[in-house]
Symmetry: C2
Subunit: 327 residues, 2 copies
């Protein structure tokens, strides 16, 4: 039986804007992309984006002319769910605030739902609608990458807070006065538990042990990445193994804080470092349990995201549409 409805998911990144048509079960039917920068101004960017969306819609309608497009969901860094505006768009090379939802409405006036949130909140919704958090009412998701993003679900809804920007758990304090964080405040969880944080830990450990025999000892700072640390750990490299131990220790402290704030049913981890499996999940779980108040112990699951890394952003963005139409 052919499906009747689909949602458009748009993931706006610094380099590319990826667009997908997604069915209610979370299957991406077709996708395409345009550059994010290089359109001259925001007005032209939105015009070009709308054209690409329409092309995609037309291509799926050739296969199924009864298909109804339920809406457009957009994930973008610095996006505000309440206002439909990208408020901190500097890394997208736009000037000032971008009222993206309003601009898109001009091109798609008949759509019920055009909704936007930041990329981490979109990932959380993707997990809830299509992934491992189906049916969960209280959970949190951490995305470990260059930085650490996060999203929070309470009573079945993503928490946006009073101004639309809740869920920046990566920027909570882990070590006061510790490592500089990209945001300016030293010591944040992001500076320790991101993929970048793992690389920093590796170099600290190489220096600490003065270890020239480690598999990581022939990499420059610029070239080392978390995948190389993983590969070295699999081969039994002591420095690399200790990087995972320490990262898990720090992340577990942060996750214990999360449990103390919110008492979630589960905490999902997403992103490159989670591909290391037990190497990262085991020390994280042990540290979290050690740091929990007694009555939280052995209750909260730490789970890998069930979304495919390459699809997660589009799936999450499209999930915004189904969530909005539930209301």
């Amino acid at each position: 039986m052919s499906i009747k409805k689909a949602a458009i998911g748009i993931d706006i990144g610094g380099t590319n804007t990826v667009i997908g048509v997604v069915n209610p079960e979370g299957k991406i039917m077709v996708k395409s992309s345009i550059n994010t920068p290089g359109h001259g101004d925001v007005g032209k960017y939105v015009a070009d984006l709308s054209e690409a969306v329409n092309e995609l819609i037309n291509s799926v309608k050739l296969l199924n002319d009864e298909l109804e497009i339920a809406g457009i969901g957009i994930g973008a860094p610095g996006a505000n769910y309440y206002t439909g505006t990208i408020e901190y768009a500097s890394n997208l090379s736009f000037d000032g605030e971008v009222p993206l939802v309003k601009l898109l409405r001009g091109y798609f006036p008949s759509l019920n739902a055009i909704v936007m949130t930041n990329d981490a909140n979109a990932a959380v919704l993707g997990e809830m609608i299509y992934g491992g958090a189906k049916g969960m009412k209280n959970f949190v998701m951490y995305t470990l990458g260059t930085g650490v993003g996060s999203g929070v679900v309470v009573n079945g809804d993503v928490v946006y807070g009073s101004d639309g920007f809740a869920g920046e758990c990566g920027h909570t304090m882990l070590v006061p006065g510790g490592r500089p964080c990209g945001c300016g405040t030293p010591g944040h969880l992001e500076a320790y538990c991101s993929a970048t944080g793992m690389k920093r830990t590796a170099f600290e450990l190489l220096a600490h042990y003065n270890d020239c025999n480690s598999l990581l000892a022939d990499k420059s700072y610029r070239e080392l990445d978390s995948k190389m640390i993983f590969d070295a750990a699999v081969k039994g490299d002591k420095i690399a193994l200790e990087v995972f131990e320490k990262t898990g220790w720090w992340l577990g402290i942060g996750l214990a804080d999360t449990v103390h704030y919110l008492s979630p049913e589960a905490i999902f981890l997403f992103g490159g470092p989670t591909a290391a499996g037990d190497l990262i999940f085991k020390p994280t779980k042990e540290s979290m349990e050690k740091h929990l108040l007694p009555f939280y112990k052995n209750k909260v699951k730490i789970l890998p995201s069930e979304l495919k890394p390459g699809d997660a952003a589009i799936l999450g963005s499209s999930a915004l549409v189904w969530k909005e139409l539930e209301k």
Copy 2:
């Protein structure tokens, strides 16, 4: 015009159980109390408590025989909103779990609402229904006392989480490996920002500066309390002033984390140390602002609770009833 409805608020503490009849505007009309321990067993305690509640109801009905009792709200440490059970009642000298709501229902079968939560969540509801958080949908409250309690409101509802125990922000990590905390994990916010934490800071500073001239230098550890630190600070005592500076610094770091998690409209502070006014609020606000991500700065209010300290527990417990009847 005489009021038509009132709620019973019960605050169960380690020593006393205080009962009050509260009108919808948050005025306590009458109150009484019984001992918490010393009733033999839980069954007898609940029987005696019910008798005291009925006496109180009868006394107000003498003045207004049309008064309807809308329900009973109970605040108790370790109480679970979902199950109506006091699960960690050791400091109440009860053995094991106490199904208090179920037991009380046996005595008040006709009441629509018999509801219980922990004391910090009750305080949060009191602030929302009667106090400074009226109309707020997203806020957090910290209660600074022997320990640090907290409660979280998201989208107009207290966050209980998946198991009923969310909102333990006092037990989030501030200084890994730092001061021992009563819960067993060193370095929690409670160990630094509670009234007890202030006393610990005072003694650390006396030792650090080897200061025999401080007004606090003639107090033993057992006798020093946060009120004495306040009195000394008002007189310009350097150690006492630095205690407030440091406490505010630490608390501000914790509140910045809270903002990054939840983006609340305001954070309320309640408890003895808040009577010091600017001495504690000013360094707390400065530290919070310093530690916030740029897009949160100058948005989040830090406010003193508007509930009278002596009444807050009963008011909060009674507020549970009005909140429950909204549903």
